[in-house]
């Protein structure tokens, strides 16, 4: 990726990460659409021998042989038995029955996590710079589980099964389904086994935001990653015939529009179809759009497909307007025709002009790449949101990372829009999603693993979470793109990842397999359900009181009983000192005056590697019969480190 290394502070602190030595020992496995091995991001120049721990291999198949692997791309496998059983034999004229990536997504995520340094990267000149993965010395193992027809759980489980056997250190999954109980969720179950082997599993939170309860991959042994913006934008202005200008974004490169203004038409007025404003396939009347710029509403079909529909109907350009579902969030696309995306407010203003002027005209002005955009990061509107619908006492997502307009490697089998009509081929593409934020965290976790080889997956996640930030440098709280208001822990979890601080978190919240087994007892799983998840007969101790509130998680999700009077909820935690000996004091805040937070003890003194426990008591005097939420934070500090935890309150 370009820009994210700088945005995350990796460039100025390169000496803090012992990447060039131990970094090469870390292996990141990615379950995705495969890999385009010829991408420069997988050049292995300068890398040492493949780690001796590696047991994986490079599988052969359509247009893919063992010689496609090297010291960077050390493993490539594909899993299609479930896919073929469900949909029939793979048509090798349409997709590669091999680890080769025909989609681009897998190449993008793999290069984001651990791509080598590539100078002069860009998409049509946009986002130009030196691209690199977060852990650019780490090794990549690609496990192809997603095909034209989707990603099937039998294949995903087989890939996790193999990745564990192959000895990956980090698993990155930029895919998911809806929320389901952990014992039914193949990713959750596979991740449990991986976690037991010391593998950190990082998963995308989903793109179903900004609706509440829209998360996927929420098991507590998974690191769940939401998405935020960078300080980079690709402005493309809309200049209306009435003299008003509105800002939008675009990655269009190609034939320029005429300098003179062009007629503008609303797609809804150029279609006889219901929902004609959405510019879905075959709904525009060519006679009405020919030679014009068409305003299409966002939603239902892919943004880039709308551009293709306008182009096919003879339109010269497109203005893509957000609706309430997306608010002011702008996602740039490499459209096939001159096009720009505008927010809901601008879209409404442009429509108002369209409907009031008898001969509306417009110009689109493409401005290229701008950096230094503030505020940033902003939580992406699409990023899935809490609360956690399965276990409300576990706050998810865990954190956010860059996931909007991310440039990374791409497959040469497909154009940057992914549309079949797109014949362009690019080395790098710019796309958005929690799919893009997840491999950022996977790569950063690999960096931390390289620096601290003995840290458990839970400790690495704790370090990433407790050092994440929730405010801009000026002190203002992180914003939510969906609302323009401050985001909450249901949107950003612990906050935005800060890898430099995560290297030296001071204190961490560790979790071992037994803790998670206790958690399964606490959520009243049956013996069979526990056995399905944990692959062992585990008898919950009937004499023991298990509590989800006591899972040693780096965040707090406090659930009060509604309708009652004063309610008290206790959470217990244990901190481990991974820094020098020191004395830490606690502070806690709540945005709800009816909630009191009491921590015992208030001061903890640690020797090196020492564990200390504390109890937090949350008391509310609020009596509510309605579902409500509130937020707060708790932090331990020795003056040098701040070990922060977000808190959510739910009634």
């Amino acid at each position: 990726t370009t820009r994210t290394p700088e945005f995350l502070g990796l460039d100025k602190n390169a000496d803090m990460f012992p990447e060039s030595t131990s970094g090469g020992e870390v292996i990141i496995g990615l379950l995705d659409t495969g890999v385009w091995p010829e991408s420069k991001s997988f050049d292995d120049t300068g890398l040492g021998p493949i780690p001796s721990s590696w047991k994986g291999q490079c599988e052969t198949g359509t247009n893919f042989t063992t010689s496609n692997c090297n010291k960077k791309l050390i493993g490539a496998r594909y899993f299609a038995n479930g896919y073929q059983a469900a949909t029939g034999p793979i048509d090798e004229s349409k997709e590669s029955k091999s680890p080769r990536d025909d989609d681009g997504h897998g190449t993008h995520t793999a290069s984001t996590a651990a791509g080598s340094v590539v100078a002069g990267a860009s998409l049509f000149g946009y986002a130009s710079g030196t691209a690199r993965g977060m852990a650019n010395h780490a090794r990549i193992a690609a496990y192809k589980v997603c095909w034209l027809g989707g990603c099937f759980s039998s294949d995903i489980l087989a890939a996790i099964d193999k990745a564990i056997e192959d000895n990956v250190n980090v698993l990155s999954l930029s895919l998911g389904g809806g929320m389901s109980d952990y014992y039914r969720d193949s990713i959750a179950i596979g991740a449990f086994a991986a976690m037991e082997k010391g593998i950190l599993v990082s998963c995308s939170a989903g793109n179903a935001g900004p609706s509440s309860f829209s998360l996927s991959n929420i098991a507590p042994w998974i690191t769940t990653v939401g998405a935020g913006t960078l300080d980079r934008d690709f402005p493309a202005y809309v200049s209306l015939g009435n003299g008003k200008n509105y800002s939008g974004v675009s990655l269009y490169k190609g034939n320029a529009l005429p300098d003179s203004p062009l007629p503008l038409i609303y797609a809804g007025n150029a279609s006889n179809a219901t929902g004609g404003s959405l510019c879905t396939a075959g709904t525009l009347t060519p006679e009405k759009v020919a030679g014009k710029i068409v305003l299409c509403d966002r939603g239902v079909n892919a943004r880039v497909q709308k551009g293709a529909v306008v182009k096919a109907a003879g339109g010269l350009g497109m203005v893509l307007a957000n609706t309430a579902a997306n608010g002011e969030e702008l996602v740039a696309d490499a459209h096939l025709l001159p096009a720009t995306a505008v927010g809901e407010k601008a879209g409404d203003a442009i429509k108002s002009y369209l409907f009031s002027d008898s001969q509306p005209t417009v110009k689109i002005l493409f401005e290229g790449t701008k950096v230094g955009i503030q505020p940033s990061p902003v939580v992406a509107a699409f990023s899935s949101r809490g609360p956690n619908g399965i276990t409300p006492q576990i706050l998810k997502p865990d954190l956010i990372a860059p996931g909007v307009n991310i440039l990374a490697g791409w497959s040469k089998a497909v154009g940057p829009t992914g549309l079949t009509v797109d014949n362009r081929r690019v080395d790098f593409n710019i796309i958005s999603g929690t799919s893009m934020s997840c491999p950022h965290v996977s790569g950063l976790a690999a960096l931390i693993k390289a620096a601290h080889p003995n840290w458990s997956p839970a400790v690495i996640r704790s370090a990433l979470m407790t050092t994440a930030y929730t405010a801009y440098k000026n002190g203002d709280k992180l914003q939510d793109s969906a609302t323009g208001k401050p985001s909450t822990p249901f949107d950003h979890g612990a906050g935005h990842v800060d890898p430099v601080s995560a290297l030296n978190p001071g204190l961490v919240y560790d979790l071992a397999v037994d803790d998670y087994l206790g958690f399964l007892c606490a959520i009243n799983y049956t013996d069979a359900e526990i056995n399905s998840v944990a692959r062992r007969k585990y008898q919950c101790d009937a004499s023991k009181q298990y509590s989800v509130n006591d899972l040693n998680y780096p965040s707090f999700a406090v659930v009060f009983q509604s309708g009652g009077g004063s309610t008290v909820v206790k959470h217990k935690r244990t901190l481990t000192n991974v820094g020098a000996a020191g004395t830490y004091s606690v502070s806690a805040t709540s945005d709800n005056p009816s909630i009191q937070i009491s921590v015992e003890p208030k001061v903890l003194s640690f020797k090196e590697n020492e564990n200390k426990s504390y109890t937090v008591t949350f008391t509310t005097s609020a009596s509510t019969s309605q579902s409500q939420n509130g937020f707060g934070s708790l932090a331990w500090s020795d003056g040098k480190h701040v070990v922060g935890s977000p808190i959510s309150f739910s009634w």
Partner: protein
């Protein structure tokens, strides 16, 4: 619909393997054959779960779930890229 085969993930309590079997794969195969002559394993899982995936009718899946040592039989789910 009852006759239509779908993919199922079968979770097995490996520790309950009868002593008559020398390897768990043989036990899994035997359990599968007890409900369907034609069903074949798509995958045998050793690390991510204990169990296997296969194509079964709904009736066969229900029957398999009642077999000794079978913890659960879940229909396959489809995931999407994010």
């Amino acid at each position: 619909e009852e006759d239509q085969k779908s993919t199922y993930i079968v979770h097995v309590a490996k520790s309950e393997m009868p002593e008559t079997f020398s390897h768990h794969s043989a036990w899994y195969e035997s359990s599968l054959k007890s409900v369907s002559d034609s069903a074949e394993m798509l995958y045998l899982y050793d690390n991510a779960i204990h169990g296997f995936s296969t194509r079964l009718t709904a009736e066969e899946a229900r029957t398999l779930e009642t077999q000794s040592g079978i913890l659960a039989v879940f229909p396959e789910t489809r995931f999407e890229l994010h």
